[in-house]
């Protein structure tokens, strides 16, 4: 069996990204313009499309902004955070035509399927329609806050105008000074001709315009705060009727301390993120608009373009003893890929604990051929592999033999090398042009952790 079954986020094989961080290939992207590996830290994350995680309804971002990123139809339980479901009941209401009789009418309320909280618990009356009837609570201080805001906005406007006026009037007064000192009236003539004096500083700002600022109502101060109720010293408290801090903070505007003041809250939206290369600003990942779709419009993840390396479990690794190990390289693209190995020079933050001898020859990874992989057809091509370097070949996988000499007596054996492979750049050329796609050689610095050294005892 080729390769090991490793967890997709293992740290066994790590690639160096353009911002000098080591990551496993599953967390990396590749930019097709800069030909560099990018990680989550060196790409620009962008908010793409908001959607509700419950009803999976897409919401245009302008509307989402208006609704403060909350879904209009779905609600969360204020008690446990689970999604609330709408329940219908029938209620008998008096018939308007015949007051003696009553007719059934459908009424709706919200209930939590997890903690059994319902809107009836907190005395919110049932609604005659299934959705849209649940109004938000009003902030009691809204009026005061908006008067304050209006007031400050006027002040800010005034400040801005004054600043602008100062800027212009200074320049003008300088010219006026020159004009007053001018014995022969030449400067003023010149200035007049240019229209400098007569023209106002800024047509939008009138000289004597005063922004009218009404004084706002003084803030009310109090001399006393209400004391604690006496019951607190005598009555036992019921913990279940007191809200926890997370329940309070989830309703930040009201922060109720009693459970009876809880109110259903609108479900918070989630977003799909798109990623952009920070250097060339091209998209690296862009999801489909539809929240149900798991596909991407653009998906430049490294796993689809760079050969993936896995480790075949080595035998014993002993201190200062040459050992042959096999690494599996699998080709993700559907063209044959040439690979070469270069000894890593310098240090980019890796901890190398073993020497590695790399194959000198160029090797070819067969293209990825999905139907052939399932049909178990024999390889179509003959690669004339050198058995001293290649341990096995199967479909797009190639097992390559490396010689490793551990240089430590204990701890993990880590090697580092540079993987160089060719890459058919289909992005640069337009399909209409009949040019051959450009072939680029990419180099990636890779570290492989081969596991602990076997003690020599």
């Amino acid at each position: 069996m080729a390769g090991t079954l490793s967890l997709p986020d293992s740290e066994v094989v790590q690639y160096l990204c353009a911002c000098k961080k080591w990551n496993s290939i599953y967390r990396l992207y590749i930019c097709r313009r800069c030909f560099k590996i990018r990680c989550g830290d060196c790409v620009l994350h962008e908010v793409d499309s908001p959607y509700c995680p419950n009803c999976l309804e897409n919401m245009p971002s302008a509307e989402a902004k208006l609704k403060k990123n909350r879904c209009t139809n779905c609600f969360d339980c204020p008690s446990c955070g689970h999604t609330l479901t709408t329940r219908a009941t029938s209620q008998m209401i008096p018939n308007p035509d015949d007051p003696g009789k009553s007719t059934p009418k459908k009424m709706y309320y919200l209930a939590c399927g997890f903690c059994r909280w319902t809107t009836r618990d907190v005395a919110i009356p049932d609604k005659p329609i299934a959705s849209g009837a649940w109004e938000d609570m009003e902030n009691p201080d809204a009026a005061r806050i908006s008067t304050l805001l209006e007031h400050y906005q006027l002040l800010a406007q005034k400040e801005k105008v004054e600043k602008e006026r100062k800027k212009y009037s200074r320049r003008r007064s300088h010219l006026m000074y020159a004009a007053s000192m001018d014995k022969y009236g030449l400067v003023s003539v010149a200035a007049k001709r240019k229209g400098l004096i007569s023209a106002g500083p800024n047509p939008t700002i009138k000289e004597n315009e005063e922004i009218n600022i009404k004084t706002i109502k003084e803030a009310v101060t109090v001399e006393e705060f209400p004391p604690l109720p006496d019951e607190i010293f005598t009555e036992p408290i019921q913990l279940t009727k007191k809200t926890s801090i997370s329940q309070r903070l989830a309703m930040s505007e009201f922060q109720p301390s009693e459970a009876v003041e809880l109110y259903p809250r609108r479900k918070h939206l989630l977003i799909r993120r798109s990623l952009r290369c920070k250097e060339c600003e091209h998209n690296l990942s862009k999801p489909e608009f539809n929240p149900l779709s798991i596909k991407f419009k653009i998906q430049l993840i490294a796993l689809l373009y760079i050969p993936e390396i896995r480790v075949v479990p080595p035998g014993e690794l002993k201190y200062k003893k040459d050992t042959k190990i096999v690494l599996t390289f699998s080709n993700p693209v559907n063209t044959n890929t040439k690979i070469q190995f270069i000894q890593a020079e310098g240090n980019e933050g890796e901890k190398v604990t073993a020497k590695i001898e790399l194959p000198k020859k160029e090797l070819v990874l067969a293209h990825r051929d999905v139907p052939a992989m399932y049909a178990d057809m024999p390889a179509q091509q003959d690669f004339k592999d050198d058995s001293s370097v290649v341990s096995f070949r199967k479909a797009n996988k190639l097992g390559i033999i490396f010689k490793v000499t551990p240089l430590v007596q204990e701890g993990d054996v880590k090697v580092c090398f540079v993987l160089k492979h060719d890459y058919l750049n289909t992005a640069a050329t337009l399909p209409s042009e009949n040019e051959e796609p450009e072939i680029v050689w990419l180099e990636h610095r890779v570290t492989v952790n081969l596991g602990p050294v076997t003690s020599s005892k």
Binding site: V47, K217, Q255
Partner: protein
């Protein structure tokens, strides 16, 4: 005039208030934060919870803030950070390394357009519509009192005490460990056998749901016993105890004395005779004499800890009592105090002020833009004379 002026008309200015315990985050012009979440991160691999303020090196803090802002932007606010403006409400005593690293993360990593660092005490004044007040912020780590006169913080009168929410938690932990009992079925054992049951979250939950700041007359009796060694029989009869469920099977019995007494840690005068309440009077004494009356008539109390039931009433009672004592009556001729009530819960009052600043047209001229930051490489700071007057 920079080209981008007038950008503020679209309300995409994000306001942050990074508290030691909770971070408030929202959009300018709104009346409450979009989210108030614990200032902590969960490690994706190990699942360990990590406080963003806990760091050993600058790089660690950088990573913390980067990950934390990512959550705030892409989980809660859902606004692109790039080229947008933001406002940070900070404490005047915010460590320089935190500000600088925050600026680095914002400008270099998220490429935000501009940042305005604004003292939380000052922004809180905006929510009141006045510009003079004695502002006390009772937070998680410390209580900080700063008088603000005509919109200017009187730095020389600044008073602080490292006693706030955290101290309450610690006191509660001590008290519970010394006499807390846990019941599992019919078995009963003392909590000190299993101290690991008492996590910070549980302590906070107990505080929020069970504890309160007791009345002044009762507190005097409690202080007589706990501080001055009076006989224990002088204690007022404690409130009923609470059976607090720890997990599925065990129940922690919280004694009434704990419920009543944990918050006293803020009001017990230490060796220097300083408590949360004396901070207010000390700040008034430190202020110039012609400000004093006005400050005493405009007391503002902020911070999540001030939400404790009975806290405000207690401050009021204690102030009136302290002012009669020779220690203060010889210096201050004050008789009465008046308090402001902000149009917000006290744990996000500073944030609300930030939200107001952020919605104004003057925001661009007051904040540090990315260009300015890249040019100078650092922020101006009020305590650094070299940078004063630059911005």
């Amino acid at each position: 005039m920079p080209l981008y002026e007038g950008y503020t008309s679209d309300k995409n200015v994000v306001i942050f208030d990074f508290g030691a315990a909770y971070t408030k985050c929202g959009v300018a012009g709104e009346m409450c934060p979009r989210c108030i979440i614990p200032s902590q991160l969960k490690d994706q691999k190990t699942g360990k919870i990590k406080q963003i303020w806990e760091y050993n090196t600058e790089d660690e803090l950088y990573e913390n803030l980067k990950d934390f802002l990512f959550i705030l932007y892409f989980r809660h606010i859902l606004i692109n950070p790039k080229d947008r403006r933001m406002v940070v409400c900070e404490s005047l005593l915010c460590p320089e390394i935190f500000r600088e690293t925050l600026a680095k993360v914002m400008f270099k990593h998220y490429e935000v357009g501009s940042v305005l660092f604004s003292p939380g005490h000052l922004t809180a004044m905006l929510t009141l519509g006045t510009n003079t007040g004695l502002v006390m912020d009772v937070g998680y780590n410390e209580t900080l009192v700063i008088p603000i006169y005509e919109g200017i913080p009187v730095i020389k009168a600044l008073q602080s005490l490292p006693v706030a929410s955290k101290a309450i938690h610690q006191r509660m932990k001590e008290m519970l460990l010394s006499n807390g009992k846990v019941k599992t079925g019919n078995e009963e054992y003392s909590l000190s056998d299993k101290p690991e049951l008492l996590t910070e979250e549980i302590l906070e939950d107990i505080k929020v749901r069970c504890c309160f700041t007791t009345k002044w007359d009762r507190a005097k009796k409690i202080h007589d016993v706990t501080l001055y060694g009076a006989d224990i029989s002088n204690l007022p009869s404690p409130p009923p105890s609470v059976h607090y469920p720890l997990d599925g099977g065990s129940i922690l019995v919280i004694d009434g004395t704990i419920r009543e007494q944990v918050c006293e840690v803020m009001f017990e005068q230490d060796n220097e005779q300083v408590s949360v309440t004396t901070l207010l009077l000390d700040a008034i004494i430190q202020s110039p004499i012609d400000m004093r009356v006005e400050l005493s008539q405009n007391i503002v109390i902020l911070g999540g800890t001030a939400l404790l039931p009975g806290f405000l009433h207690r401050i009021q009672m204690e102030l009136l009592d302290l002012i009669k004592q020779p220690r203060y009556s010889n210096v201050l001729a004050l008789k009465k105090f008046r308090y402001h009530q902000a149009p917000a819960k006290s744990n996000y009052t500073s944030w609300l002020g930030g939200s107001m600043i952020g919605s104004l047209e003057t925001l661009p001229s007051k904040s540090v833009s990315r260009d300015q930051y890249t040019e100078s490489g650092k922020l101006s700071d009020w305590c650094n004379l070299a940078t004063v007057g630059q911005s």
